[in-house]
Amino acid sequence: MKKSNIIMLIAAILPLGLFLFPLWKITLEAPQYPTPLGMYIHINDFSDAHPHDIKNINLMNHYVGMKYIPEAIPEFKIFPLGILITSIIGLIIAFKGNYKWFLFWFVLMMVLSTAGLYDFYLWEHDYGHNLDPKAIMKFTNPDGSVMGFQPPLFGSKDILNFRAHSYPRLGALFLGAGMACAFIAYSMGKKAQKKRLNLAN
């Protein structure tokens, strides 16, 4: 097996790390919470950073009319399937394909990841903006519009008395590493092909 194919094989396997490690983490800091509240987002689940964190986030958020974080979202069914299918495609490519297919897989993953992130953004936006009209506390922005409580997609942001942090976790790193490997495999394959062409010349 060619070196580039071996790397492609690794590339196809790495995203499966999403089934072992969380994809993302949102952390909420406030003076009343010396131990910040935190929530992990996995490929198929939400989970507490510390016991009962999600329950306590819900309790805090209900004051401004945010919905309770759902037990499950449709994405938890779609995303794992997507990762499984793309990994299988990756494996087939690693065994059968040439370097051009590696690029195809890389682009496919880029498109799907971007779509996933966008979906995540939409969900966050809805979660932070679709507020109960009977909310106990209503806040407006300086321009008069209703204040949203959307956590940042990536980075840190102040929301009322909280500072929210949103950063990828190990699972996302596995996905990223997989995609990087696919690109490396493509580059190596291309270089090797060039060499072969040069030799042929």
Binding site: K55, N56, M137
Partner: protein, 656 residues
């Protein structure tokens, strides 16, 4: 004439001692630069934690207070023997059984000597034991929740004072009676005290895993007053030592009649020997009646069981188990040094401090060098067991603790000071005044093989000019001394609750990591628990109504209840659905003859309300819990006894 001269001299000595206190007080007050340095030593910056926990008994308040050292900040008052409206202890249905005794519901006691559990002679920070002096009881406080979780009444005992000290693996917590009484109790002339009254020394076993207490045996001793006690440790592990006074067995005007003998005794008890005897079927089962109250963390409820018998042991049945060590004059404290070799008898009317040697005691016993006996119990020769004495260290010695570095610290009530002296050489090396009239003192880990000899806390009976006045009753107080150097240094005064009788302390790190933050709702086994709002309900059973209620920021469910009638007995079983640290809620009902409830996250508590008037009556949250705490309220509609108002309840919609 001679006596007049003597008493004049004594009086002079007392005055001189007080004068010298004042002098040294003033001299330390002068050094302003030093004072700044002192402030630094007790300063714990905002947000930082103290180095030690101190559990200071509340004496006649019946409670146990939790302080931080070196700051002297009060963190919590743990109700033990007294009802406490702040925490609903002894008011709610769950903890009322804790205060049950053979005399009925006794919601007060005189809490004296806390002692922390030990493993291998070192404080382990799992439980604090404390005695109820008045209606004899021993309580256990769990240091993961800082709640009283077990109380056992001590039968055949009266004035449970020489308690509650633990052996070095917490095998036993001891409960020695102060007053001798007829055993079993009976109607008899008081003048026939001598020879007829008996003193019981009770050994309560502590189950190593969960700390479950049980009376293993009671030693029935001669009718002296048993004052204080300490376990042997290290080489003397397996023995327990009890000071006695009134070896005269007087029954009236004891201040005179119990101060006649030049020497009273320290009773040395080889409990391992008695344990062996009992394990082999020895002892006499005696009818008794005493309460054993246990709080279960999973049901959040206590149960009280009346026990009907107790195993008694006559010391004469176990030869070689009990001996009497003559000790001058009416010894109070009975303190064993960390090595277990020295037993200090603080003869409160004696000019000198008497220290016995454990090794010499064993020698004398082996060679059967007895001076006589008391009711058949061998008395050893004073000179055979004496290790040495500290000459004229002060007036009115009470208690001694040790720093683990070969020094002992003794409090002197009359001369109002702490005196530091050396074990073995018996020389006084330092003294510091107390303000004023010091009783016990405490070094963290004091009753163990490993004291943390950095601080000593002196607990004073009188404060007079030390604080802002508060009418005739002024606070009692504790004083903190740094004992890390050669000389003791007074660092801090701090007020205490009730009478700071005795204290136990240990490094904060032993307890802090194990401190509970919430109770898991899933683990709540309370028979009337409601674990989510959907399950809340109101159930009538004749004239009894059970309200299954929940609370969460910032509402009760249900918040409206109708169909309650005058003459009903309404039980509010309220579950706190929170699962977040430091978010208790409270609830109280207008006209309820009880306290509010203060319910921890995941906990269920119950109070009873018997409405006596028709109307619509509010209830509300009593603990400021959230931004909308003030909105956390509800109503109960009370109809006439014969009314037809249907039983209904709701949250978020009107009752039609």
């Amino acid at each position: 004439m001679k006596t007049i001269l003597k008493s004049t001299i004594a009086l002079f000595a007392i005055l001189a001692a007080f004068t010298s206190c004042n002098n040294s007080g003033k001299s330390s007050g002068k050094s302003g630069a030093l004072a700044g340095n002192v402030a630094e030593k007790v300063y714990v910056a905002p947000g930082e934690h103290d180095e030690f926990y101190a559990f200071i008994s509340g004496g006649f308040s019946g409670q146990l207070s939790v302080y931080g050292l070196p700051s002297g900040r009060l963190f919590k008052v743990i109700p033990v023997f007294s009802q406490d409206a702040e925490k609903a202890y002894g008011y709610n249905e769950e903890t009322k059984p804790m205060l049950n005794t053979s005399h009925g519901f006794v919601p007060w006691d005189d809490a004296h000597h806390p002692d922390i559990s030990q493993t291998n002679g070192v404080i382990d920070g799992r439980w604090v034991f404390i005695n109820g002096n008045n209606t004899p009881r021993i309580a256990k406080v769990d240091l993961s929740t800082f709640e009283t979780t077990e109380i056992i009444e001590v039968p055949n005992s009266a004035g449970n004072h020489s308690s509650s000290f633990v052996t070095e693996n917490t095998e036993y917590v001891v409960a020695g009676t102060r007053f001798s009484v007829p055993i079993p109790q009976k109607d008899m002339p008081i003048k026939d005290y001598k020879g007829n009254f008996k003193g019981s020394l009770t050994f309560i076993s502590v189950e190593p895993e969960h700390g479950h207490m049980d009376i293993k045996f009671q030693l029935i001793m001669p009718g002296f007053d048993y004052d204080l006690s300490h376990p042997g440790r290290g080489k003397s592990h397996g023995w327990f030592f009890f000071t006695t006074y009134n070896s005269e067995e007087a029954n009236t005007l004891l201040e005179v009649n119990a101060s006649q003998n030049d020497k009273d005794f320290i009773a040395a008890v080889n409990w391992k020997k008695i344990e062996e005897y009992v394990n082999n079927g020895g002892g006499t089962m005696m009818p008794a009646n005493y309460a054993h109250n246990v709080y279960d963390e999973s049901t959040h409820s206590a149960t009280s069981t009346m026990k009907k018998e107790v195993l008694t042991v006559n010391p004469l049945e176990v030869p070689g188990a009990v001996f009497l060590l003559p000790t001058p004059k009416s010894p109070h404290g009975c303190d064993v040094d960390p090595s277990g070799e020295y037993i200090v008898g603080n003869g409160k009317l004696s000019a000198n401090l008497t220290v016995h040697s454990f090794t010499k005691m064993l020698d004398a016993i082996e060679n059967e060098k007895f001076a006589g006996d008391a009711y058949g119990i061998p008395i050893l020769n004073f000179d055979d067991v004496l290790a040495g004495s500290v000459e004229q260290p002060g007036l009115g010695p009470l208690h001694t603790e040790f720093d683990g570095k070969g020094n002992a610290y003794t409090t002197f009530f009359i001369s109002s000071e702490v005196v530091k002296w050396k074990l073995g050489t018996w020389e006084v090396v330092d003294r510091q005044p107390c303000y004023y009239s010091v009783g016990h003192l405490m070094i963290p880990g004091g009753n163990s093989q490993k004291p943390w000899g950095k601080y000593v806390v002196a607990m004073n009976k009188i404060t007079k000019d030390r604080y802002l006045p508060t009418g005739p009753e002024v606070t009692q107080s504790a004083q903190l001394y740094d004992i890390s150097g050669d000389k003791m240094e007074l660092l801090l005064d701090f007020p205490t609750i009730g009478e700071p009788h005795y204290a136990a302390g240990c490094p904060a790190d032993l307890i802090k990591p194990r401190s509970k933050k919430i109770f898991n709702l899933e683990d709540n086994q309370h028979p009337f628990a409601t674990k989510n709002e959907a399950d809340t309900k109101v159930v009538r059973d004749g004239k009894t109504v059970h309200v299954y209620m929940t609370m969460i920021r910032s509402h009760f469910s249900p918040d409206n209840i109708e169909g309650i009638k005058v003459g009903d007995r309404v039980y509010f079983h309220v579950t706190n659905l929170e699962q977040d640290y430091d978010v208790p809620h409270g609830i109280s009902m207008i006209g309820a003859n009880t306290s509010e409830l203060l319910i921890m996250p995941g906990q269920t508590e119950t109070f009873v309300w018997e409405p006596k008037q028709e109307g619509v009556w509010p209830f509300y949250c009593t603990d400021f819990c959230s931004a909308l705490h003030q909105e956390m309220q509800g109503y109960v509609r009370v109809s006439a006894t014969n009314a037809k108002t249907p039983l209904k309840w709701s949250l978020g919609e009107n009752i039609e």
